[in-house]
């Protein structure tokens, strides 16, 4: 018996990228645009979605795929707005994973009627690390960072902040009560992801929510310049003039 070296040279997340591409092809065929919405737990993803869906999307038919480790609290909240909501739990079945991956989203596809929607918002599991690693077949990525989290977060979680096409800075109604340095946050954000689009919002007061709504409409109408390439694994050329 002897040992042999076998060359592999494969991205470790190659299998996920393949399934993500299959998901995206299915969405494309159904003419559904897909947004992956991410944040830390409690940053306000669901409340922002509620605020935006309550305003309506100018005839764009939205659906939500709600990712959670357990339960259907968020899905129940959103179904009150009469949009089709599908719950996807990572526990049981997916080992209680702290993020959605392409395979989990694929498993949920039979439960989603792609014919009745134009835009699918996938609300990921609250987490600033893992969801950034796993493309699920989305066209664009948005994240919520609340001012209660501190201005250093872009520097601590660069992978997440770099991977999104939109950063929603939420809970700005709390600014008078916090030591949060907004200028410093925006400086850190720009250091990690130069020129990224952002919006100052408060899901609670409704301030700035219009910006999120406009962005979703642009995403639905295929006007977000998200890279078509799959994950952040390969070398990327960035910041090139459009």
């Amino acid at each position: 018996m002897h040992r042999t070296k076998v060359r592999v040279a494969k991205d470790a997340l190659d299998a996920n990228a393949t399934i993500a591409a299959a998901n995206r092809a299915d969405f494309d065929r159904a003419h559904v645009r897909v947004v992956n919405l991410m944040s830390a737990p409690g940053a306000g993803k669901t409340t922002l979605l509620e605020a935006v869906l309550a305003r309506g999307l100018d005839g764009v038919r939205a659906g939500v795929l709600e990712g959670d480790v357990q339960g259907s609290i968020d899905a129940d909240r959103l179904s009150a707005l009469h949009v089709p909501v599908t719950q996807l739990n990572t526990d049981p079945g997916f080992g209680g994973e702290c993020h959605l991956d392409a395979n989990m989203v694929r498993s949920a596809l039979p439960a989603i009627d792609l014919g009745e929607i134009d835009l699918l918002v996938i609300e990921n599991v609250g987490n600033l690390v893992c969801p950034a690693e796993f493309r699920v077949g989305e066209d664009a990525r948005a994240m919520v960072a609340s001012v209660a989290e501190g201005e250093d977060k872009p520097l601590k979680y660069p992978l997440m902040f770099r991977t999104c096409e939109l950063v929603l800075v939420n809970k700005i109604d709390l600014l008078p009560h916090l030591d949060f340095d907004l200028d410093r946050f925006l400086y850190n954000l720009d250091s990690v992801h130069p020129g990224v689009e952002y919006a100052l919002v408060s899901a609670r007061t409704g301030e700035g929510v219009e910006r999120f709504r406009d962005w979703l409409l642009r995403a639905a109408n295929d006007r977000i310049a998200a890279p078509r390439a799959e994950p952040a694994a390969s070398r990327t050329t960035e910041g090139a003039p459009a």
Binding site: M1, K5, D11, A15, V129, G239
Partner: protein
């Protein structure tokens, strides 16, 4: 904590390429931008590998430093902070030269399908 799911992906990739043979070594390149904690990855790898062809295999991690490049001024290090604006002129990085890698480079397998003494 994404080390757990990354470990599973590594084991799956290695098993696929092992073609039924027992794996003794998995060589991985990890870019600094992937925020992987090597000790944590090793810990989870050992657990996830149990009951697969990778059981007992060693995980060798080659860490790749993160660097970006400015079109005008040249390269800079993205450590300790991942700042993607050129430290000299402030322009956005034209390119991330390295640091995004997360690749199973190679595996070492036992050629004969016999039960190895442990």
């Amino acid at each position: 904590m994404h080390e757990l799911s990354i470990s599973s992906a590594i084991v799956d990739t290695a098993v696929k390429h092992a073609d039924g043979r027992r794996v003794t070594l998995v060589s991985l390149t990890v870019g600094a931008l992937r925020q992987v904690v090597p000790e944590s990855l090793e810990f989870y790898f050992e657990i996830v590998a149990r009951g697969t062809l990778c059981e007992g295999a060693r995980l060798r991690q080659t860490l790749v430093p993160a660097r970006a490049r400015c079109a005008g001024c040249g390269p800079w290090e993205l450590e300790p902070l991942a700042v993607f604006r050129c430290p000299r002129c402030g322009e956005a990085a034209a390119e991330v030269v390295s640091g995004n890698e997360l690749e199973v480079e190679s595996i070492e397998v036992e050629e004969e399908a016999c039960i190895a003494p442990r």
